[in-house]
């Protein structure tokens, strides 16, 4: 990873006072905090950077090391000690420094994730919010149902509410990235992706479907059966129904999201089928009909 200038990240000068550092951090945190920038990955990343910069520059000991060693400041002291020991060894000093080196790293790592001042002595930061997609069909989202999904190796049962739309999001609290300084884990946002359905078109909670009607039912009237997502329904066709005519079936459409028991409407467009492969007798009768008009 490229060396990051924490002073630049916080937009302050190297001689900034602890109060200046604190003020700069607060100002930027208010701008980029994940609570104030929902679903904004760039803001989240920026917040992590300023948080890291504040953890270093806001801690006098870390700041001193950072100012002294710059890049690789976390291990600067060890490096310096190792160099000193190496030079002593070169002049006949006896002690090995390799085992010493390993232990120090752990100390530094624990220091890195140690503490910072703030509410209750420590500022706790929520982990990063993560996002994922879940593909759901129109038929699946017709009813509220539960689905088990795998999140980082954990099986999580989620409830998919009836009537969700393509692009809708739900939040799974605490399933995001781990928090810092004992803060809560971030959230996982699941976006529902709904593919187009081959039979139904959806506009909000209204559904649109095409039903085929034979010529004789269209002319003389009758009854047809229409498939809906809620099951088959019988529909009366008025005599002299025209091709492309639409009927509206109230509350036979799609469930209204977060409004249990409420449904949109179903719009049925009639597609009148003209008979093909006519027999001689049928042709004769159609000709007779045509002459009557």
């Amino acid at each position: 990873m490229a060396f990051e200038d924490y002073y630049k990240t916080l937009g302050i000068k190297k001689d900034a006072s602890p109060q200046d550092i604190k003020n700069a951090f607060r100002k930027l945190a208010r701008k980029y905090h994940p609570d104030l920038n929902p679903d904004d990955k760039q803001a989240n990343m920026k917040f992590q950077q300023i948080n890291l910069a504040n953890e270093v520059l806001g801690d006098p000991d870390k700041k001193r090391k950072y100012d002294k060693y710059g890049e690789g400041w976390e291990h600067g002291e060890e490096r310096e000690k190792a160099q000193q020991q190496y030079s002593r060894q070169s002049y006949g000093g006896g002690q090995s420094y390799s085992s010493n080196f390993g232990g120090m790293d752990e100390d530094f790592l624990s220091q890195m994730f140690g503490g910072a001042a703030g509410r209750g002595g420590k500022v706790k930061y929520k982990g990063q919010d993560l996002s994922s997609e879940l593909h759901v069909s129109l038929a699946e989202a017709f009813t509220t149902h539960q689905q088990t999904i795998n999140i980082n190796g954990k099986a999580v049962r989620i409830t998919i509410p009836a009537g969700i739309e393509n692009g809708h999001k739900i939040k799974l609290k605490g399933y995001g990235g781990e928090g810092a300084n004992g803060g809560p884990a971030g959230d996982l946002f699941i976006t529902f992706v709904m593919a187009d359905d081959p039979h139904y078109k959806r506009m909000g909670s209204d559904l649109y479907v095409t039903a085929e009607v034979d010529l004789y039912t269209a002319v003389l009237g009758g009854e047809i059966t229409v498939d809906t997502l809620g099951g088959k329904i019988k529909l009366k066709v008025k005599p002299e129904t025209q091709n492309g005519a639409k009927v509206r079936l109230k509350e036979k459409g799609y469930p209204v999201h977060k409004s249990e028991g409420n449904f949109g409407d179903l719009f049925v467009t009639y597609n009148i089928k003209i008979p093909v492969n006519l027999t001689d007798k049928e042709k004769e009768l159609f000709t007779e009909l045509a002459q009557l008009r």
Partner: protein, 97 residues
């Protein structure tokens, strides 16, 4: 108020190391709903996420209650606009098909 388990406000405050007066102040500003049973104040489980967000804004970012009120209002409007945009995108997609 939506259904959900009730959590004593004192438990929430102890866990987050905050004063109970903060909950009262949020309630007075109309930012949360609470249930009072005799002397005890309870919070609905559904509101815990929002309340935690308010705690972070107030204590970590030092945003006062008026600021939190304004932010909450703007975030709600942002959510409404995002939903509207989503609906329109879906309608446009349908009309293109």
């Amino acid at each position: 108020m939506t259904k959900g388990q009730l959590i004593p406000a004192t438990t929430f405050c102890l866990h987050h190391e905050i004063e109970i007066s903060f909950i009262d102040a949020l309630y007075d500003h109309g930012l949360i709903e609470v249930i009072r049973v005799e002397e005890n104040v309870f919070i609905s489980e559904d509101q815990v996420g929002t309340l935690e967000q308010f705690v972070r804004l107030y204590y970590d970012l030092e945003i006062n209650l008026e600021g939190i009120e304004a932010i909450t209002h703007l975030l709600e409007r942002l959510k409404e606009k995002q939903d509207e945009l989503l609906r329109l995108k879906n309608q446009l997609r349908m009309q293109r098909d």
